[in-house]
């Protein structure tokens, strides 16, 4: 092989960054630099310089990618976002705004919302010292306290939050003795767990490296126009789908028939495919398993072998040289060569990171130009190791440090061998290394000195890269770089043989799926939000292909999102658009918008996922029901009521024939039409007066206001924001106990059926013979009506508008057991994996994640 005859000048500084006082000269190996020396200048340079070096543009056919497949039947929810965890307060002491995780807030939310989970274990511990039933002092033990008397003392009093409340000696003693135990142990125990969990969540939000390498792959078919997309589907991403796709020249890709399925026992994180010596192989990485399939010429996949990785697999790659050989890395720091015939061979093991200490267990391995030499990477660097040499030896190929002019805090996110492209590789010795700031091309033959460095400045973590064959002979090779946020960049890589690799032409950013929003019809706000969220779903896979037969080169790009959607876009090569031309703005075709509308319709047919967190809504159904009997004649309010009862958007036709212009409608309210009166008052800004009037009227004995009930889903705990109780937030301290007391305490048996359930829950774990006693105690507990209204309970004023959860069915789901790990794919996926049960057991007891 040829080596570049003259490399770009580079300063070589060894050691970690920041210790040497040397200017950053990385710009010297940035794109386009191709210094020609005079010896070759007069004669060769004209021929050497590729004719298209200046103007290369892949022009997108539409302003954004289009959906290829209908949305899956499972609802999708983005889960916890960074905003949910960040603190909103002001920091007068800090010089800069910064991220602070709001642990205190999260913990107190949890204690209030899930008191049963937080305190029940403690209660169980104390059970032997508390006597729930029977006569006063039948027990001879002096250490047993009768709860009955304790409760009797409590009877009628609400000492919480009121410093002047009367306390009996017994109560005093109990609170003095029990207080520290109750307060500290719960808080410290939970705090620790919460700490751990939040830290894990936060790390994951900042960088979710599970999908490094991408979970979407393109398996070429018998003809250039047909191939298969392989990707995971289903809410848990545990169904491997094989979708045949045709790429008609000049047309949009078409999905052919229904995809084939393989049900797996864990979430798919990475899908790799490669055709070596005419044999197509497909490797899949799950959290604790790796599997290998052989894809026949007809496109059918036959399983070859499954591998269990005890510590968790972080990367898998297929050899471009030998059919059926793989490199697998595990969290423990081990790298193994794996072939179905010979099984596993550990070639490297080091629990420490390569260059400096970094806590991340992420490891990565790929192949090199030599079939027996591998690259092994972690966050700090990349090393080349000879699998046949003595263990432990190797050569550092890339160092996160001064050699590559790295920035502080820069870490390796992806390392990939670029030499595998096509039968005759043009860049057989190049390795691509991506960090959160830059992209490096390193030649295996010249370790530590990057041949090329380019600051990609992607606004999200670049976890996918794909080098494509040149669209036409003599053209540079397109290199696709994909960020987790769906951001795509396309670079043109030139240089082979005796010339150093360089970027030919300026890099290009490609549309991401959120750019497709304009292709969809405008929707009502709720659906629009849902659509936006769906389009913004993080990308988890990327695949591209250039069908070789097309007369005009076309690049087909497929993108898989975390919501399970496959989007595609089409790019045409604009050869030499000239220095002054600008990229023509693509526009939506009628077919494209029709396709989007179809997809959207299917999306909106999927019932939305039960929200992780729900803002309080006030039930109007009961209220509407009462009014139904009153037979109000007017069309307007009736339509309004119907719309509200159905929970849909109020439309013009619901309000009957109303003047299209002019002041907002003010239907004449009937004397008894409370809702209309209230709406009207609110409209005119005289809500307070109406309220006072109403207060006076409803205080009669017959109209005893019903107790307000508020239920929250268990799983909503940590993402709940202070906006939940916005009714009172402005006026009261955030967590006065009174506010949560209605549901923190058990209720008397005379309750609607939905409350029975809570009570049963309360009674669970208590021996059956004691349950009756327990019920009796509960019956004696002070009811809310007894609380002095307006003094302690800031919510008592809302008696006419009861707060109930927006989706009552979640109550049963949510409280029937420990929180089922939320409906996100991660949680569901974990529980669906039989073999990763251990992890489930470890994760589950954590408070409601």
């Amino acid at each position: 092989m040829d080596f570049p005859s003259s490399l770009r000048p580079t300063l070589f500084v060894t050691g970690p960054l920041g210790l040497s006082n040397v200017p950053d000269m990385s710009f010297m190996c940035s794109w386009r630099d191709a210094l020609t020396l005079p010896e070759s200048l007069p004669e060769n340079s004209k021929n050497e310089a590729p004719p298209l070096a200046t103007g290369l543009l892949w022009e997108p056919e539409t302003p954004g990618p289009l959906p290829l497949l209908p949305p899956g039947p499972d609802p999708w929810d983005p889960g916890v976002t960074a905003q949910d965890l960040l603190f909103r307060g002001a920091f007068p002491f800090r010089r800069k705004p910064q991220a602070v995780l709001d642990v205190t807030e999260q913990l107190s939310r949890f204690l209030w919302d899930h008191g049963d989970i937080a305190f029940a274990p403690l209660g169980k511990l104390m059970l032997e010292n508390f006597k729930l039933e029977g006569a006063r002092s039948r027990s001879k033990k002096k250490t047993v306290v009768s709860v009955k008397s304790l409760l009797q003392d409590l009877g009628g009093h609400q000492p919480w939050g009121c410093p002047w409340a009367f306390l009996s000696y017994r109560q005093r003693r109990f609170s003095i003795v029990g207080g520290p135990v109750l307060g500290k142990s719960v808080a410290s125990l939970l705090g620790e767990l919460l700490h751990e969990e939040l830290a894990m969540r936060w790390e994951q939000l900042l960088l979710d490296d599970a999908f490094t390498g991408g979970a979407l792959a393109w398996v070429p078919g018998g003809t250039p126009q047909v191939g298969q997309l392989v990707y995971p589907a289903g809410g848990a991403l545990d169904t491997l789908c094989f979708q045949e796709v045709s790429l008609p020249p000049g047309g949009d890709p078409q999905a052919l028939g229904d995809p084939g399925h393989i049900q797996l026992r864990g979430p798919v994180r990475q899908v790799v495919t490669r055709t070596v010596q005419g044999e197509s192989l497909l490797a899949v990485r799950s959290d604790y398993h790796c599997a290998l399939w052989k894809v026949s010429k007809q496109g059918r996949a036959a399983p070859l072998q499954v591998l269990q990785v005890g510590k968790g697999a972080t990367g898998i790659s297929l050899s471009p040289h030998l059919p059926g050989e793989l490199a697998v890395c595990s969290r423990s720091g081990a790298v193994c060569l794996w072939t179905p015939q010979d099984g596993l061979q550990q070639v490297y093991k080091d629990p420490e990171t390569l260059v400096f200490c970094d806590p991340s267990p992420w490891r990565w391995a790929d192949f090199t130009a030599h079939p027996r030499v591998l690259t092994v990477g972690d966050r700090t660097g990349v090393k080349i190791i000879d699998t046949q040499g003595p263990p432990g030896c190797g050569l550092l190929l890339f160092r996160g440090g001064a050699e590559a002019a790295c920035r502080q805090g820069e870490r390796v996110l992806l390392s990939q061998y670029l030499g595998e492209c096509g039968a005759e590789p043009r860049l057989p010795t190049l390795q691509l290394i991506c960090t959160q700031f830059s992209l490096y091309l390193v030649d295996e033959r010249l370790p530590l000195v990057p041949m090329l460095k380019w600051d990609h400045d992607l606004p999200s973590a670049p976890l996918w890269a794909q080098l494509l064959p040149p669209p036409c002979p003599g053209y540079p090779q397109p290199l696709l770089l994909g960020g987790q946020g769906g951001h795509l960049q396309l670079l043109h890589l030139a240089g082979e043989g005796a010339s150093a690799p360089r970027l030919a032409g300026p890099p290009q950013s490609l549309p991401s799926s959120s750019d497709s929003l304009s292709a969809f019809p405008l929707l009502e706000p709720k659906s629009q939000w849902r659509l936006q969220e769906r389009l913004k779903a993080p990308t988890i896979g990327l695949a591209a292909t250039i069908p070789s037969s097309a007369s005009k080169p076309v690049l087909s790009l497929f993108q898989l999102s975390a919501a399970g959607d496959v989007f595609h876009q089409h790019l045409h090569l604009q050869a030499d658009p000239g220095p002054h031309s600008r990229a023509p703005a693509a526009s939506w075709t009628p077919q494209a918008t029709a396709c989007c509308s179809r997809w959207l319709k299917a999306l909106l047919d999927v019932p939305p996922t039960p929200p992780v967190w729900a803002a309080p809504t006030f039930s109007h159904r009961r209220l509407l029901g009462c009014m139904e009997q009153r037979k109000v004649e007017q069309k307007g309010p009736e339509g309004l009521r119907a719309a509200m009862a159905a929970g849909r958007l109020l439309r013009q036709k619901d309000l009957g024939s109303l003047p299209s212009a002019g002041p907002p409608p003010a239907p004449e309210p009937g004397p008894e039409d409370e809702l209309s009166a209230r709406l009207e008052a609110a409209w005119e800004g005289r809500m307070a007066a109406w309220w006072e009037r109403q207060q006076g009227r409803s205080s009669g004995p017959g109209r005893q206001p019903k107790r307000r009930k508020r239920r929250t889903q268990l799983s909503s705990t940590f993402s709940s924001l202070s906006g939940r109780l916005d009714l009172s937030d402005a006026t009261s301290p955030p967590h006065s106990p009174d506010r949560a007391s209605p549901e923190a305490r058990p209720r008397p048996p005379v309750t609607p059926p939905s409350q029975e359930l809570t009570q049963e829950l309360w009674a669970r774990g208590v021996p059956s013979e004691r349950q009756q006693t327990l019920r009796d105690y509960m019956a004696r507990l002070p009811l809310q009506e007894d609380t002095p209204r307006g003094v302690c309970s800031p919510l008592s004023g809302t008696s006419s508008s009861r707060a109930t959860p927006s989706r009552p069915q979640t109550l049963q789901d949510g409280t029937a057991e420990l929180p089922p790990g939320r409906n996100t794919r991660r949680g569901a996926a974990v529980s669906s994996s039989q073999t990763s049960r251990q992890q489930v057991l470890r994760k589950k007891p954590r408070m409601g994640f």
């Binding site: 040397v22 020396l37 002001a90 805090g409 057989p428 973590a461």
Partner: protein
Amino acid sequence: MSDFSEELIRSKTEDDQEESCVFSGTGMSFPWLQKYIGTVATGGKKEKDFAQTTNACLSFIQEALLKHRWQKAAEFMHSYFQILEDSDSHKRQAAPEISLQHALYLLHHGMLEDANRNLSHAETWRYGEKSSSQEVLINLIQAYKGLLQYYTWSKKKMELSTLDEDDYAYNTASQNMLNHSWKTSVNLCALIQTPGVWDPFVKSYVEMLEFYGDQDGAREVLTNYAYDEKFPSNPNAHIYLYNFLKREKAPREKLISVLKILYQIVPSHKLMLEFHRLLRKSEKEDHHKLGLEVLFGVLDFAGCTKNITAWKYLGKYLRQTLVGNHLAWVQEEWNSRKNWWPSFHFSSFWAKSDWKEDKALACEKALVAGILLGKGCRYFRFISKQDDQVLRKKIKRIKKSVKKHSIVNPGL
């Protein structure tokens, strides 16, 4: 609890340069975190208004550039030049770097005079105390100036070659050249002592030294460049030294010692075939052994699998080695490859595709396959079954060779 937050996210308070990076507990920085914080944080110090504007402007430029909207980018760029007003001393210190970048651009686009002017500007730029960092930068700037002078010198050399030696003009021209070369060597000298990759500088410097007959000087420069441990292991340094020694007609022993090091760094280099030839011609037995090793080494690499010369050499040399009774050498090389070369080189897929694409290559490979794996091997069997008018004789010869030399069952 607040400690926890502290521990989880540390902000870089002192360093104002990297406003956009917030660090997590792991020390990793996340450029995208700033976006999250922007949507949440309400308190804290706001950036200077001017800094905010320039940052926004920069991101607009970036976006326009990446979407190839040149016109728009230029408009934004015009506004962005206001940053030169920035009183920040750090940015002023970066001025020579910016000049150098511009000069490099001009240089790469053939605008040599402009580049020279620019470099002179950069060279004289001083801000604050001259630090070691600036010194390196100044060296680099001077080296680029030297390179420009070399360009002029090289042009003059071309002119000179057209002139008659007795001509008056010849003398002035050569005098001119001498002046240039002196200046250039001063300029280049300092930089190439600094560890780094300086291929173009070294190349041009050596060319000038050689032109004036300073062979020792040139050798010293190249030897330093190749063997100084502070420098990265640059294959070109050894290649330049080898080529120089070859021009100098250095003894074979010397050449072999240079290529031996190159072999250790880049066993796949095309010079390795030349290395093999040198070793083959050598009288020493260990050189003969190394010659075999080198050939095997070249063919280990994915980019060299279709190198017909290498296969030809290997077939020939295998035969020669086996005739010379060195079966152990072959077996030593083969042992580490016998579990992967068959599927890497000699699979039936390659037999078919090589035969289809390059029959000569297929024949050479078949010979090697037959010697190493015996006549039962798939590759050899496939090729030997082919019926080809032109190659019939050759295939017959191969069959004979395999029968005679195959290392499988050597007793037979």
